[in-house]
Symmetry: C7
């Protein structure tokens, strides 16, 4: 209790989410730490469409990774992934699907990506302001094509959300963003965008790049229908990525 404890261990993180003297909500900051420990996940858009790419880290032997789904269809034209506490993420993915469904039911039209992002973010905000709950320990990336074109939105544990051309969450998210930042162009093709994402993931990871460790979802601007790439498609893109890397 006396030696070796910083202030963060003494009080701001107990009971409910309160402000620290410098105006931060420590519980929210800590929740973000659990996001940083999630699997590396990239959302990106270009004129031709949007993509989400995840690298599945092997965390335990004999897990049936094929059945570990990390990119979820929220609606025909919207997909999502998350990094952070898996159980929290699952709950918010369920919520996103329900929001989309309810929107179609109420307004008889597909929801925009922001409609879904805002609904999730409002719940997240509430969990940072009221006692008796803890904030959600997940960041979500929502990607989709709506009436305003390709959309990539990332919502943080605080309930803040923003639109991005490209955004990374999870392990090594900062290095991944640095890598992408200098190479990104909105006008590149969706194929180029996927390869850029793969190269960014390969750059920061020590895993040997095999199709099994990647999950990639795409929605083309002209199709507006989400689909996941097959193992073969991914294998082909990996070798392309390796080539252009060297």
């Amino acid at each position: 209790m006396v030696f070796g404890l910083g202030p963060q261990q003494m009080g701001y993180d107990r009971a409910i989410t309160v402000f620290s003297p410098d105006g931060k909500l420590y519980q929210v900051e800590y929740a973000f730490e659990s996001v940083k420990r999630g699997w590396s996940t990239i959302g990106m858009k270009c004129k031709e469409g949007v993509l989400i790419a995840v690298e599945k880290k092997k965390v335990r032997a004999l897990v049936e990774y094929d059945r570990v789904e990390k990119i979820f269809k929220i609606d025909e034209h919207i997909m999502a992934s998350f990094a952070g506490l898996a159980a929290d993420g699952r709950l918010l993915i369920d919520l996103a699907k329900e929001v989309a469904l309810r929107h179609r039911f109420l307004y008889d039209e597909p929801p925009t990506v922001e409609v879904v992002a805002k609904a999730i973010s409002d719940v997240k905000q509430a969990y940072t302001q009221h006692a008796g709950v803890r904030p959600f320990g997940v960041a979500l990336i929502l990607a989709g094509i709506d009436e305003f074109g390709p959309q990539v939105i990332m919502t943080e544990p605080s309930g803040q959300y923003m639109s991005y051309y490209a955004v990374a969450i999870g392990q090594e998210y900062a290095s991944i963003q640095d890598y992408i930042e200098g190479r990104y162009k909105y006008d590149m093709s969706l194929r180029e965008a996927i390869i850029l994402a793969l190269k960014a993931l390969m750059e920061v990871s020590e895993e040997i790049p095999k199709p099994e460790i990647y999950e990639i979802g795409i929605i083309r601007t002209d199709e507006k229908v989400m689909r996941k790439l097959t193992k073969d498609e991914i294998a082909e893109l990996i070798s392309e990525a390796k080539k252009s890397s060297s």
Copy 2:
């Protein structure tokens, strides 16, 4: 726990918002700290109208800043912006819109700016006096034209609000106010007021002044309709501001 901790780290900021021995509500003071870290935002009025000007700081690469809206239409004749926790601000902006809508519905007339400011401030006050919640970490500027003429009101996290000729919140708010204070005249034109606001933002910022980093909303006293300046209008005003600065 023993060395290097001030009293503020020991107790007043836990559980609920309580008084410190010198009669302050620390949680409210801390909430204000998060306001001070928001983007620099100016509200100003002159005889000819009102304006809100924001400088969008680049916080992360590849954010789609064009889609980051910081000035919101509350009603035809009222706009608002905030500094502080983004998710808290979004929630209060939604509340402001709802208050305006309900006022029109109930009384069949446009709300005054103060009606909206008071409704928001009452909610803020309640969040400083009751357990189970934390105060809102945002200051809002409401600007509009109502039956009493041009109005600029700023509401603090404590629930206090006041009318201003000109007010700044967010980063460098004190320097911005100092800059404006000596140069402000109520009789200047709205164009002169915008240029003054731009010059104040440029004075305290190290960013290179480009149209993309500013968002400016105005309402003319005679028109009573909010609109945002275009990139071109802003570009022209920047060069004017630069000229008159030198």
Copy 3:
């Protein structure tokens, strides 16, 4: 946590309002501290009527002080002002108006000043005895003419209230009361009373006495109608005050 902290920093001020070993409610004492930081405010009565006088301290540049109202009409014949947390004060002023309105509605007669004071004080008391809330950080002065003649009542954060011939709250309240105490006579005219109040405010303040920095409300015993003095009236009284001071 070890050196330089007094007992008041260790526990009595947390969670709910509890008794300290010497039988004080620290949270209530601390709430009173915030009253002491409010603007200097005087309530006074004489045979001819009652008055409230406030000195508006400039706290921030470009505040539209003309629109900062500090003396409120509660009913035709009752006015009120407060010192302390502005948002708390606003809430209690709203409550006072509602109490007066409801009294007229229920009993078809104007409320006495004490009826309003007691209603507010009962709410204040409740906020010192129950968990989940903090005490109100404001003292209110209610002044009016009712069936028992001129009335000045001040209610404290504890919920205690008393009748006064003259009372000051806010900054320098003790010096102001000392100043008034030796010079006060119940039989003086209302004009003399206002001048006495102005002189007391001028005595303790370093501001240059200008009409803009004062707000003065009066109710004459024979008229029973509240009104605020105009800038011109105040200007004339200031020069009178200066004369008689020298």
Copy 4:
């Protein structure tokens, strides 16, 4: 936190009213401390009737002490006073009046003094046993004439109450009781009892005994109607008291 703090400052007084290792309820003990700081108040009975006598200490200049009522009529034949937190006391006086009224309404007969004392004490007890509230910081003296003759009952913050021949609460209560104890006789006249009470108050106070600083209520056994002594009556009794003292 380390030096100079007794155990009472470490924990038993927080959150709710709990037992200390020696079986005391500290919050209740502390509440009693605030009783000890109240104005000196005496309740006394003799065959001929009951009395309550209070010395009003000048706590602040220009308080309208004439309007500071400290002895309250609860019913025709019952009066009460209190020492301790003024706002708490007011609340319990209101409660006592309501209890008496309700008793008359329900049973169509005047309540005994104990009926009222018990109702108040039950509320006090509840406030010492449940979380979310603090104990009442007041002791009440109830004095009256009922079917069992003259009654003086004092209720403590704990909810305990007892019948007394004479009892003092507030400042110097112990010295006052000592003074009375040796001189009290149940057979003395009410006038003698009042003079004894005045002499006890004068003995322990440094104030110059003037009619204005005393408030005295009496109920004669044969009349069963409460009334307060006039200034003139008190003046005459003071000079009598002075005489017999010397």
Copy 5:
């Protein structure tokens, strides 16, 4: 906080009633401490009947001890007394009366002593297991004659109750029980039992034994009706007790 505090002062006694590492409920143990500070009270039974005897300690001058009742009729055939917090005791006595009344109403027969003891003990148990309340700081002795003969039951703050031939609570309870233990016989007459109780009280007390300081209630097995001994009866028994003591 550092020196001279035992573990019992650091945590187990806060908030709610929790287990200590050795399986005790400290709050309940502490509550028992307040029982030990109550007035010495004895419950005893013999073939001929039951008795409760209390010694009233003088705690304050001019208390009207004649009106301080410590033995209460619960029903015709059941009486009770308590030691500990007076206000808690009063509340449970009220509860006992209500239980007895309700039992007669529901079943049209007099309740057994255990029926009443169990009802009170169940409430006591609940107050040791749920948050938001503290345990009752009283032990009750219930004595009566029911279909199973003479009964003496004592209920503890924990909610535990047991049947006794003779039991003492309050100050010096252990010495009193020791004294009685060696001299008790179930076959002695009720008069002998009362004298034994008086002698036990006299043994441990420094008060001069006078009728005024004792309160004694009895119920004869053949009569099943509770009554209190008169001053004269007690006086006679005291002199008998003195005789047999010497």
Copy 6:
């Protein structure tokens, strides 16, 4: 607070039942400590029937031990006893009776022993997982004959329960189990089982074995009706036990 305190005294046992770093629920472990202080109680079964045997320790003089019941009939064919906090145990015994009654009412058949054990255990579990309550400080032994034959089930404070051939709770439970373990045979007669239980109790106790200090309940497999042994039966079994011991 500084020296000699283990971690268990600092925090895990406060407020609600939480996990310690090594995955234990301390409050539940502590509750078990109070079980260990209860009276030694044995439950045993053999082909011929089930038994519960309790040694009543003298804890206080003049307790009417004959009336202290420790083995309770839950239903015709089920009995129970407990060790730990007496008031908690009484409450769960009441619950068990109610469960049995309700089961007969709902299903028109006698409940199995496990049905009752599970109902009690579910309540116990809930009291270890939710805030605002403490765990039950008792272990119960339920013994009976149901459609599956002789049953002995013991439920712990955690809500865990298991079936046993023989089980001991309360003081010296470990030694008792050791003693029984080497001597137990399922095929022995019920009489032999009782003698084994008596010998185990005698082995660990310093009391002189007299019929008064034992309470023994049995249910024969063929009768399915609970009954308690008489003093005479116990006396005979004691002498038998003594014989076979030597």
Copy 7:
């Protein structure tokens, strides 16, 4: 309190489940510790079917281990086991059965294994995010055959769940998984899978492998009906396992 305590003992584990500075939920981590102390339990699948195997450690003498059930039928085609707090596990097994039943009732078809796993995991997640409860201290393995083939899912205290080819929980789970990892093949027969599981349990345990200490449940892909192996079947498999081990 001063020496030898790590941060984990100071605060994150109290009151409710909050984030630690490194983004972990300590209460959830601690809950997992209690899983690690449960009995070693293996879930495994192969093309031919699924199995759950448990080794029952002798924790107490004379427990009727035959009646200690650790593998539960959830539905015809789904079984489950758990490691951790027994009472928590029982509650979740009850929940799983109810979920399966309700699914059949609502949709008139057998639930998939994931439907049940998700329902349990959602409850678990909720218990990690809301105040007033503690997380569940159990991991569950669900194994079954559904429309997607053989399924083995393990849900953690956090509410996270994943599909596995083989997974171990409880004591020595890591060693067991290591052992299995190198030897597992999806194409082996169910008999080979059981022998592998037995060998893994034998490898890490010091118990002498006897049929009584194992409980094994299987569901064949073609049958879709859960059944437990008999003592004889297990005995035969043990000797086979011993042979192939050597």
